[in-house]
């Protein structure tokens, strides 16, 4: 079918919107709430206005291009004076109930509302009514995500991500009129809710209404405190994404520059979470074999993703015996730093501050779990997301792109394998575990190191691995996104699927798509492909590609832990889980009161 946009012929399909056809044919229409890669077009911002004329109607109408389908012979004009004027007024109205403290906003410099004001050529902002937004809520109760609804523009992207991508469905819409805001189910503070802290909502928020809880100030305090020994670690997915915050192409590996930057910041010890990723494989792999051999609870689920652990504890507490007791690499690094490393360096662990740089918002909450605090001392003291780390560097005047790379120099924990590097992508933990488990069981290295059947982006992937005569074939599965996780768990619980080992990553794509990663405007996961390629590239380049072949892993077992699942590793590298399922009952009295107040 044929229609016309600004006089040019466009072909379009049945029920295709004007916006979609315009985008395909290179006609720019400014939009705000819409997000094409998650099929989100709620039609709430009303900015994407165009002028239409239908074939058998002489009238011209201004409509939103995101909700209006093209018709045969329709003539669309995107830039008439009336359209531009209306777009400007729309953005002016948007600003009228937006808390405009732009200079101090966490989204400063990366704000889609500011962008749209520029795109539509807004030159004035006449309506200032602080009481329009003052009544709306702020919520700092979560250790991971900060909400400031005074800035919300009701694009509903966070709701869509929470409902449709993650299936966690924690966000609801409350109130009406100017008081309308995105709230938390059952009226709870976010920190007490079923939120799993994955932070995916932050990735899509166009303004500063949703953000990571900013901890850069605490890190600066530690850096400039002469009595503190700072130990930094950064996760596998940070190095391939951080560059985006400094205008480097997605997928650029800036591992060496991060080491330089940390040294320049004054970090005392710079470590790589990859080291403890290798350690996790030793522990978790051994745990899996023990479960298979002892015919213990199976399938075993991975435990390195705190979003997934939160999700399981809050939704499927009956799964707790299935989750590997091995702590996550972040927490293993914290406990090893404050025991093994402190011993080797002959320092008092109380003086140490372990600071993580993570692609993840849930890691902030994980570090606070009481299980990971020993005699008042947390294993990990502060967690910065990739975005906060970029902010810290900027605050300290460091431009990443200008730095020369450096190498690790820690003689005890400064080495990692390619298996650890791929922890940063969905499927990576599984692949890493199989490389080691195969060797442990059969005594031989896996011939085919790269397991293509569990690579890729399908939400659920599965494979069968031959572990030789003793154990035969094991069935494994990989799920990313919590919606996929729920689907997989339900299939397992219904007896429709049987596995030995299951990897779950809460965030789509795994850690590389984590809620703490650099965000892209107008797109949900624009850098997925490049980031994953970079991660697999690191693995391919490593001289050592299996965790058990990391010489410093051998050393830490020889010098300190003795063997996987030893008494000491149980104390320092394993954990347990809690039932955090929440049942809320409302009375009709409360409900009617709320409904009444609304009307």
């Amino acid at each position: 079918m044929i229609a016309y946009i600004n006089g040019k012929e466009v072909e379009f399909g049945t029920n295709e919107t004007i916006l979609s056809a315009a985008a395909r044919h290179g006609h720019f229409i400014p939009t705000l709430c819409e997000m094409a890669d998650i099929a989100h077009a709620p039609g709430t911002c009303r900015v994407c206005l165009v002028d239409i004329k239908r074939r058998n109607d002489p009238g011209h109408y201004v409509v939103t291009s995101c909700t209006t389908p093209l018709e045969e012979g329709m003539e669309v004009l995107t830039r008439t004076p009336a359209v531009r004027k209306k777009q400007r007024l729309q953005v002016e109205l948007l600003l009228a109930d937006h808390h405009q403290n732009c200079a101090v906003c966490i989204r400063h410099g990366n704000c889609e509302l500011q962008d749209i004001a520029q795109f539509v050529g807004l030159q004035q902002s006449r309506y200032h009514y602080p009481h329009f937004y003052r009544q709306r809520s702020r919520d700092d109760s979560s250790a991971a995500v900060a909400r400031d609804m005074r800035k919300c523009i009701r694009c509903l992207r966070c709701v869509t991500v929470c409902r449709e991508i993650q299936g966690t469905d924690v966000l609801v819409i409350t109130e009406k009129g100017l008081a309308t805001e995105i709230s938390v189910r059952d009226g709870l503070p976010l920190g007490d809710s079923d939120c799993v802290s994955c932070g995916q909502c932050i990735l899509v928020c166009p303004v500063g209404a949703l953000a990571e809880k900013d901890d850069t100030e605490t890190v600066i305090d530690s850096l400039y405190d002469p009595n503190v020994l700072t130990v930094f670690q950064f996760a596998p997915a940070v190095r391939i994404a951080l560059g985006e915050e400094f205008m480097l192409p997605p997928g650029t590996n800036v591992e060496g520059q991060i080491i330089t930057a940390l040294k320049r910041l004054g970090a005392d010890v710079v470590l790589d979470t990859n080291f403890t990723a290798d350690l996790v494989i030793m522990e978790e792999g051994t745990e899996l074999l023990k479960r298979i051999r002892d015919e213990d609870v199976l399938p075993m689920f991975t435990s390195c993703c705190p979003g997934w652990v939160n999700f399981a504890e809050k939704n499927f507490p009956e799964l707790r015996p299935h989750i590997s007791t091995t702590r996550s690499p972040q927490q293993c690094l914290g406990s090893m730093a404050k025991t093994y490393l402190a011993e080797k360096m002959r320092v008092d662990p109380k003086q140490m501050r372990v600071i993580s740089i993570m692609p993840c918002t849930a890691k902030k909450e994980e570090a606070l779990r009481p299980e990971f605090v020993r005699s008042g001392m947390a294993d990990v003291d502060v967690v910065l997301t990739t975005r906060e780390f970029a902010r810290l560097l900027k605050r300290e005047g460091i431009h990443l792109g200008e730095l020369e790379p450096s190498r690790y120099d820690d003689p005890w924990m400064g080495e990692y394998s390619g298996a650890a590097a791929i922890f940063g992508t969905t499927g990576g933990v599984m692949e890493a575990a199989i490389r080691t488990v195969h060797q442990v069981v059969t005594g031989k290295e896996l011939e085919r190191i790269e397991l293509s059947e569990i690579r890729g982006f399908d939400n659920i992937r599965e494979a069968r691995i031959d572990l030789g005569e003793e154990l035969g074939e094991v069935k494994v599965a990989v799920a990313h996104s919590l919606k996929a996780a729920r689907q997989l768990v339900e299939a397992i619980q219904a007896g429709e699927a049987v596995y030995h080992f299951v990897e779950v990553m809460a965030c789509p794509g795994g850690c590389m798509g984590g809620g703490g990663q650099p965000r892209s405007k107008k797109a949900y996961q624009a850098s997925w492909q490049a980031r994953q390629q970079a991660i697999y590239g690191i693995d391919r380049e490593r001289p050592i590609r299996q965790s058990h072949n990391n010489p410093l892993i051998g050393k830490i077992y020889a010098d300190f832990l003795r063997e996987p699942l030893s008494h000491r590793s149980h104390q320092l590298l394993h954990t347990h889980y809690r039932d955090r399922k929440r049942i809320v009952r409302h009375t009709m009295e409360e409900i009617w009161k709320e409904i009444g107040e609304r009307g």
């Binding site: 709430t44 007024l89 329009f132 409900i591």
Partner: protein, 659 residues
């Protein structure tokens, strides 16, 4: 008939300002606009298509402000122009009435009002500034005069918000609101909206005939919103805790014990009346002839459409709220109206239903014949004796059901499930005229019922006191009759015979009149229904009210529940004030209905199609052998998608009245 001084509706301007009042012709469109309630003239009316001024001296500026204040309060807050624009208009109008009386503000108001009309997402925003814009375009000088006059507004204004689906619903359930709550992710709140009107949400979500969906404006785009299925979704979502929501603490103001009410019948009308009376603090005793609750909803609706535990649970709300239900008490047999009066009930509600069958009036018909049974009785026996009590039934090999309504469909589909091998449906008109839900008709066909359309029974063939067969005759279409349908006449010579073990007339029901003795003196209508005052639902006997099928004749669940609700309101008024009070919402609803013919069919702007959720059903070959519920619930994801299809056709209306 009201006289319009000036006004605009959909761009049609009426301007009689310069004419003398007695010269102005009365407008037939405003037949009911003279008074709001007795002695209280309507001075102005504002709606989503325009406004009318019926009296000189109306403060137009204030009328606009009060209207826009309601609009701003109703905005759902999701789209920008309606959320922010209506607030700015409101505050600028406030400025013009009591602060900054700068007439140039009108230009700014006009620009934003146009913007709200042209770019809002839903029907509320799109229509919310139409009246104001028409004032500004055609009667700006009136507004300017008002600004200059600096009058203190003393106008009495009643506002009303509604939509086509709400107006179509007998119970006036706020449909867009409960759909909004689904969109918002608040299913309990959604259910709360429904429970404000009646307790049987899960029941209604299964068997409602959906006047709302017939009125749904989404049909102009693709298909009606699945209003019923969303109701079932929210009701089912937390159905196992539904009784926990209620407790007698919900009742704020207990009425004194002597103000107790007797409700006769636990059908939809009785349950709804009892529910609203209990919520208003009355002591309520309910009397039920049967041993199970639900009335026609229990005995007349088969399990595969409405599982009985759901109905029982919803009736249970009455007991949770402190109501008492006495089973096995048939009015006219176990007790009389006189007994109730003697027990000191100052008010009684009769929700008796219409449980009697109607005869075919053909040769060989005899109620005592073996194998002859009214549809309602057949369903009662299957649902009550067989399913509830496990009493075996033999319905033979072949059955013929006569009728085209939902009862007939329930009979044929239930008969299949009872193991009857060949089930025939005989209906005198064509398929198009069948009053049953088309989904029911299709389901019956899929399950293998044999349809004989344009066919009618002539004679019952009897052998040894048993039905052996039925002689049928083909009908042909004749002239249009008074109901607007083509009449049908027998096509002589086309007679044929069907052998059958059972003949089931399902051509209507009537009230079982054995409830009253002549000295009760309850007046009846010519059709054998209980006569009531349509405004108060009171019978000719003081304090005795009636509603549901026994008043309306066989109707629908939702109509009966609406009557029960209305009766509760009337009984409350009667017991509090001695008479039934004026109810402004009903009056506004009438006014809204009267303005409908004035609405010009608007310009249609294309809207992206989003098709209605497909409800999964049990396979016809499997389901026809059992009474398990046929329709499966929809998923949360499907519910969100379906809710998003609602276009929120809310309109705000207001009247300025004398008092």
């Amino acid at each position: 008939m009201a006289k319009v001084i000036f006004g605009v509706w959909d761009g049609n301007v009426i301007d009689n300002r310069r004419r003398r009042i007695f010269d102005i012709e009365e407008h037939p469109g405003f037949r009911s606009f003279d008074e709001f309630n007795p002695g209280n003239p309507i001075k102005a009316f504002l709606g989503g298509h325009g406004f009318f001024i019926f009296e000189k001296g109306v403060n137009l500026l204030d009328a606009a402000l009060q209207y826009m204040a309601r609009v701003a309060r109703e905005s759902c807050g999701k789209c920008t122009p309606c959320r922010v624009g209506t607030q700015i208009i409101k505050s600028k109008l406030e400025g013009l009435t009591n602060g900054n009386r700068n007439p140039q503000l009108l230009d700014e108001i006009e620009a934003i009002a146009e913007h709200v009309r042209d770019t809002s997402l839903c029907g509320l925003g799109q229509t919310s500034t139409v009246a104001l814009l028409e004032m500004l375009e055609y009667f700006r000088e009136e507004l300017l005069k008002e600004i200059a006059a600096e009058r203190e507004p003393q106008q009495h204004c009643t506002t009303y918000v509604s939509s086509p689906c709400i107006e179509a619903c007998p119970s006036k359930v706020d449909v867009p609101r409960y759909i909004d709550y689904v969109k918002d992710g608040k299913f309990t709140h959604s259910l709360g909206v429904i429970l404000q009107k009646y307790p049987m949400a899960a029941t209604c979500g299964r068997v409602c005939v959906r006047f709302c969906e017939m009125a749904c404006r989404r049909t102009q785009v693709d298909e009606a919103v699945g209003i019923k299925v969303l109701k079932r979704f929210v009701a089912d979502h937390e159905r196992f805790v539904s009784n926990e929501w209620f407790s007698s603490s919900l009742i704020h103001e207990k009425k004194s014990d002597d103000l107790k009410v007797a409700v006769v019948g636990t059908g939809p009308a009785g349950i709804s009346a009892a529910y609203h009376l209990l919520l208003r603090g009355y002591r309520v005793d309910v009397y039920e002839a049967n041993t199970v609750p639900g009335g026609m909803a229990a005995t007349g609706i088969p399990n595969y459409r409405l599982p009985k535990d759901i109905l029982r649970q919803e009736v249970g709300i009455i007991e949770t709220l402190g109501g008492r239900i006495f089973y096995g008490k048939r009015l006219g047999r176990h007790f009389t109206l006189k007994n109730l009066a003697a027990e000191g009930y100052p008010a009684i509600f009769l929700g008796l239903g219409a449980h009697g069958g109607k005869t075919l009036e053909i040769d060989g018909e005899d109620l005592s014949l073996k194998g002859y049974e009214f549809g309602v009785n057949l369903l009662l026996h299957i649902n009550h004796d067989y399913i509830d009590n496990g009493i075996p039934m033999d319905l033979g090999e072949r059955m013929v059901v006569v009728g085209g309504g939902n009862v007939a469909m329930d009979c044929v589909r239930s008969a299949l499930r009872m193991g009857v091998k060949e089930v025939h449906l005989v209906y005198r008109r064509s398929r198009r005229e069948m009053p049953a839900d088309h989904e029911e008709i299709e389901a019956a066909e899929k399950e293998g019922v044999i349809f004989h359309l344009l066919t009618h029974p002539r004679r019952i063939i009897v052998e040894n006191g048993r039905v052996k067969g039925v002689e049928l005759i083909k009908m042909k279409l004749g002239e249009l009759d008074e109901s607007g349908r083509k009449s049908v006449v027998p096509d002589e010579g086309s007679e044929f015979t069907l052998e059958t073990d059972y003949l089931v007339p399902a051509i209507g029901q009537q009230v079982d009149l054995s409830f009253a003795t002549p000295d009760d003196g309850v007046a009846l209508t010519k059709k054998g229904l209980i006569a009531v005052d349509s405004n108060t639902l009171m019978t000719n006997r003081k304090g005795i009210f009636a509603g549901g099928d026994c008043v309306t004749g066989p109707a629908t669940l939702v109509q009966a529940m609406a009557q029960g609700h209305k009766a509760a309101r009337c009984i409350d008024d009667y017991l509090t004030y001695g008479r039934v009070q004026f109810f402004p919402e009903d009056r506004m609803s009438r006014l809204v209905a009267d303005t409908q013919p004035l609405i010009r069919k608007g310009v249609s702007i294309p809207i992206k199609n989003e098709y209605r959720v497909k409800i999964k059903e049990l396979d016809p070959e499997v389901r026809k052998k059992m009474f398990e519920e046929v329709e499966k619930p929809i998923s949360v994801e499907e519910a969100y998608h379906e809710a998003a299809r609602c276009m929120r056709c809310y309109r705000v209306y207001s009247v300025i009245t004398e008092q």
